[in-house]
Each structure stands twice: as structure tokens, then as C-alpha cells.
């Protein structure tokens, strides 16, 4: 446990958290509201769902960031895609499609562009 905590790159985690906060809060709060209003879920569940989505997005992005270079434009792209998909879902009025939109955003975070180069090491021979 201590080893895991030691290995966390906190500055990177904070950057990742804030870089995806907009999109994670957007989907988190909307889906939380959806389960509360439409399906009558209790408050604690909706709050937990919101937290879970925020943490999930941050976790996926962090995993990507520690292994590879995460270009700034990708962060912008992910957020932009999130907003656009959210608007798309709002336009169709089938709000449960937000789940699919969230999955698409997660895949967008995992998308490896040409600039997303891996942090590779070579042994000093």
C-alpha cells in the first residue's frame, strides 16, 4: 500500500483531475440527476455515482498519462467531444444515451495519437 502511495505522481494526478474535471462533472452530475429524478434512486446513490464517474474518468486519464505523453490538444479534444456528445444526447432527449457518450469519452481518453509517445527506457549497456 505504501509502495503504491509512493509511486503515485501527485502533480500529474492533480493535472489530470483538473484537465478532465469539466467532462467528468458534466457526465457525473447529469447521470446522478438522471438516476435520482427518473429512476427514483436515493440521494446517497446519486452522489456516489457522481463521485464514481469523476474518479473513473480521472483514473483512466491518469493511467494514460503516466505511461504516455498526453498532449494538451488531446485534453481539449476530450473535453470538447464530451460537450458535443452531451449536446447531442440533449438534442435527442433520450438521456440514458449519456452512458454511451461517457464510454465514448473514456475511449477518446484512451485513444493514442501520433504524439502520444510512450515513455520508454533503454538499459544502459
Amino acid at each position: 500500500m505504501v509502495k503504491i502511495l509512493k509511486n503515485i505522481q501527485y502533480s500529474k494526478l492533480i493535472i489530470t483531475f483538473f484537465a478532465h474535471l469539466f467532462v467528468s462533472v458534466l457526465y457525473g452530475s447529469f447521470l446522478a440527476l438522471l438516476v435520482k429524478e427518473e429512476y427514483g434512486a436515493p440521494l446517497w446513490l446519486s452522489v456516489a455515482l457522481q463521485l464514481f464517474i469523476v474518479l473513473l474518468v480521472t483514473y483512466v486519464a491518469y493511467q494514460e498519462e503516466v505511461k504516455r505523453h498526453y498532449p494538451f490538444l488531446k485534453a481539449v479534444g476530450v473535453n470538447f467531444l464530451g460537450i458535443m456528445l452531451w449536446f447531442g444526447v440533449a438534442f435527442t432527449k433520450i438521456y440514458i444515451l449519456d452512458v454511451i457518450a461517457l464510454v465514448m469519452v473514456l475511449f477518446a481518453i484512451r485513444y493514442r495519437c501520433k504524439k502520444c509517445v510512450e515513455y520508454k527506457r533503454y538499459t544502459l549497456g
Binding site: 483538473f18 484537465a19 505523453h69 504524439k115 509517445v117 515513455y119 533503454y122 544502459l124
Partner: protein, 455 residues
């Protein structure tokens, strides 16, 4: 000819470049024998004597005679690199690589030039190709470390430097990189500098930096204690010592700026600032507890303003380099010397472009902070001013490119909404802050010039 070659080799190894030049020029223009090697000795000697223009002339001459020799193209590219003509350096090294594509030295040099051109992705590709061909050269590993650190892979970069140092504890380049880029603690930096100095006792830069660290810890804590004592006097006997207020304020600003190099020195400082505000504003004027949070935030904000000012100071110091040299040589006034030398390494790290950013950011930020205090503490009604302050914050956030500003934007947005003045424009401003924060979250990218590569 063989005899001359051996002589040149020995002289070159001994570092007697002038003599190498004399002999090589003499042989070059007097005999009609093989000139290829002589040209190389001449060019390399000129390069070691930092006579890059002469070296370039000789490269041109050599290329006139041996146009298909990639070594001269490589050397010319190196010379262009040293005189900061990166585009010419790139075209030459590309040509050299066309002739001999599997030369790790060329690839590593190409990576360095690309690094200076901020093309980190291609630089990584090149240095990886070099490492695949020859992984025994520690210089290539170090270049990869620098490239990776530029691509936000600091952890891996640090591991590479540590690995090089584990195998070669006296590697000057690795020690230099580690103390410059991967060590934030001054004590650790000092020990690395001492190692560097041990290997090269005449290294003026290391001597200077060690001296700075010594002065830093000698002068700063007593000066801080003095200012804190002045604050105590101001608090306890306000009538008699009321005149100290501006001095205390200036003292806080100056010492906070200098102290921001080592955050531990600033902990008691921030604590005092917070308690001072809490005591006067919360205790005496009955300001709510919510405001205390704001005061803490303000203290941290000031810390960052100081840090920005510190960097600005570093840039200014670079401009007055010659004057500083004189000041250091005189050593008559240790406090002044200490103040001048306080920003010892910053000018090397911060490039012109970044400096420009700080010239704009720091004053804007100072103005924003003042306005923020004014708006939040005294004038609750001025909505337009609040919006202006938020816009200024967004602007500084964009300029500064640091995660801290994103945090500031969020905190500011939260304060805006929770601090009791929920209004029509607040949601909009909060949204603006959030969008700006999301859009402008850029991992801190400083386009650095690496002086160590030119050594």
C-alpha cells in the same frame, strides 16, 4: 604523414589546440597528401577553442574538396548548433544522415537540435534510433531523459539519470542535469554541486551556486526572524510601533520572494501571515469564518506571486550579468551580493519566451490579487469589477500555463458562489472559470535552452 598524425593525436588529447592548429595548417597547405584527417583536427580544434565561425569556414573548405563526406556535414551542423542556427544545423544533419543513416552520433546530435527547436516527438524518435544502435553511450540516455522530461515523463527521466549516475557516479553531465532539473531541494543540490566541484575544481558556476546556497541559509532565517519580530511589535504595541507597518509589508514581500525557493522556509511565514490576518480581521472586526478560508487562500496566492516575482528577478539578473560579476569580485557587501545572487539558476532555465510571459503575468497577477482583496473584503456590490477580476484571473491562467492557476480559478469560483453573494452573473463567471480552467490546463512546459549540451 603517419608521424604527423600521431603528433596531432597526442597534442589533441593533451588539449593543446593552438599547437594542433599550427601543425595541421602547416601540413595542410604545404603537402599534397591526404587532407581528410587534417581538416577534422582543424575543425575540432577550432570548435574546442569556441571559434565556431572559423570552424565553419574550414567545414565549407573541406566539403568543397570532399563533398560526400558525412563527417564534415555533421561537424558543420554541430557548429551551426553552437551558434544557434538550428535550421541550417537540421538541413546539414539530415544530409549527413542520408549518406550514413545508421550513425548513432549523428542521430543523437539531430535529437539535440530538434530539442532546441521544441520538436520533442521527433527528437525522441531520433534518440531512440541512436540508442537502438548503441545503448552503451550514457550521453544518449541523458538526452533521452531530457526529451522525456519535456514530454512530461519526469519520473522515467529521473530514473534514467539515476541509472546513469549509479553506473558512472562521476558523470559530469548527469550530475549537472540532476542538480539543474531533477532536484528541487537545495541541500541535495548542494551535495551534487560539491560532487561537480570535486570533479572540476575550477567550475565557477558550481562555486557560485554553492556560495548562494550557503548565503541563502545563513541570511534568510535571521532576516525572517527579524521581520516576524517586527510583526510582533506591530501587533502588541501598535501605538509606539505603528510606523513599522509599511516596513513589515515590504519585508514580507521581499523575504517571501526570496524564501519561495525553499518552501519549508515559508511555512512559519505563511502561518504568521494567516494568523495575523485572522487575529486582526476575524478577531477584531468580526469577519466570518468563511473569510478565514479566503485569507488562507490569499496567503498561498501571495506565495505564488512571490515565486513569480522570484523568477522575474532571475530574468532581470541575467540582464545585469556583467554588473553582477563585478559585484561578486568585489565582495564588499555580502547582503547586496546575497540579494543579487538569489536567483542563481533561473536565467538558465527560463527562456526568453517564458520570460516575456512572466513580465506580463506577474504584474497582472499582482494587480489581480489587489483587486481581489478590494472586491472581496470591502466592496461587495461591484459586480462588474468582480467579472473583471475573474477575467483577469482567466487571462493570467492562460499566460501562466500552470496547474496552480487552474486551482486558483476553481477556488475563486467556489468562493464566488459560496461566499454569500450569489448573483446573476456569478454562475456565468463560474462557468467561464471552469471552461477556462479546463481548456487551459497545460502541463507546465518551459521551452528550455540547455546550456549543458554545448559544454
Amino acid at each position: 604523414m603517419d608521424n604527423i598524425e600521431k603528433k596531432l593525436d597526442v597534442l589533441f588529447e593533451l588539449g593543446k589546440y593552438r599547437e594542433v592548429l599550427e601543425l595541421a595548417y602547416e601540413t595542410l597547405y604545404s603537402s599534397k597528401s591526404e587532407k581528410e584527417l587534417l581538416y577534422q583536427y582543424i575543425i575540432l580544434s577550432h570548435m574546442n577553442l569556441e571559434e565556431y565561425k572559423k570552424a565553419l569556414e574550414m567545414c565549407d573548405e573541406a566539403l568543397g574538396e570532399y563533398p560526400s563526406t558525412s563527417a564534415y556535414l555533421y561537424l558543420r551542423s554541430k557548429n551551426f548548433y553552437y551558434i544557434s542556427s538550428y535550421k541550417k544545423a537540421i538541413s546539414d544533419i539530415e544530409e549527413a544522415l542520408e549518406i550514413s543513416p545508421n550513425e548513432p552520433q549523428y542521430l543523437a546530435h539531430f535529437a539535440k537540435v530538434l530539442l532546441m527547436q521544441n520538436d520533442y516527438i521527433q527528437a525522441k524518435e531520433m534518440i531512440e534510433r541512436a540508442l537502438e544502435l548503441d545503448s552503451s553511450e550514457s550521453e544518449y540516455h541523458l538526452t533521452l531523459a531530457v526529451v522525456l522530461s519535456m514530454l512530461d515523463g519526469e519520473k522515467v527521466a529521473r530514473e534514467i539519470v539515476d541509472e546513469v549516475l549509479a553506473k558512472e557516479p562521476h558523470n559530469l553531465q548527469a550530475l549537472d542535469i540532476k542538480q539543474k532539473y531533477f532536484t528541487s531541494k537545495l541541500k541535495e543540490k548542494k551535495s551534487l554541486l560539491q560532487n561537480l566541484l570535486f570533479l572540476d575544481p575550477f567550475d565557477k558556476k558550481s562555486q557560485k551556486d554553492i556560495k548562494f546556497i550557503k548565503y541563502y541559509y545563513t541570511f534568510l532565517p535571521p532576516l525572517m526572524a527579524f521581520v516576524l519580530f517586527m510583526t510582533y511589535l506591530l501587533q502588541s504595541q501598535r501605538r509606539e510601533f505603528g510606523f513599522l507597518e509599511p516596513f513589515v509589508f515590504v519585508g514580507f514581500a521581499v523575504l517571501g520572494t526570496l524564501g519561495s525557493k525553499d518552501w519549508r522556509l515559508n511555512v512559519p511565514f505563511i502561518a504568521t501571515l494567516v494568523s495575523y490576518d485572522a487575529y486582526f480581521n476575524v478577531g477584531r472586526h468580526g469577519i466570518s469564518f468563511g473569510e478565514v478560508f479566503y485569507i488562507v487562500f490569499q496567503a498561498v496566492l501571495f506565495q505564488y506571486v512571490f515565486m513569480g516575482a522570484y523568477k522575474l528577478w532571475g530574468g532581470l539578473r541575467h540582464k545585469f550579468e556583467t554588473r553582477l560579476e563585478q559585484q561578486q569580485n568585489n565582495k564588499k557587501n555580502p547582503i547586496l551580493y546575497f540579494l543579487f545572487i538569489a536567483s542563481f539558476e533561473k536565467y538558465e532555465v527560463i527562456e526568453q519566451e517564458v520570460m516575456k510571459r512572466y513580465y506580463i503575468t506577474v504584474p497582472t497577477l499582482a494587480l489581480t490579487s489587489l483587486l481581489l482583496i478590494y472586491v472581496n473584503m470591502y466592496q461587495y456590490e461591484h459586480l462588474y469589477l468582480k467579472v473583471f477580476v475573474v477575467l483577469l484571473f482567466i487571462y493570467t491562467g492562460i499566460r501562466a500555463y500552470r496547474v496552480f492557476w487552474i486551482l486558483v480559478l476553481y477556488i475563486f469560483g467556489v468562493i464566488f458562489v459560496t461566499n454569500g453573494f450569489v448573483c446573476e452573473g456569478c454562475f456565468l463567471t463560474l462557468m467561464l472559470s471552469v471552461i477556462a480552467a479546463t481548456v487551459f490546463v497545460i502541463p507546465y512546459k518551459v521551452t528550455r535552452r540547455f546550456s549543458w549540451m554545448k559544454d
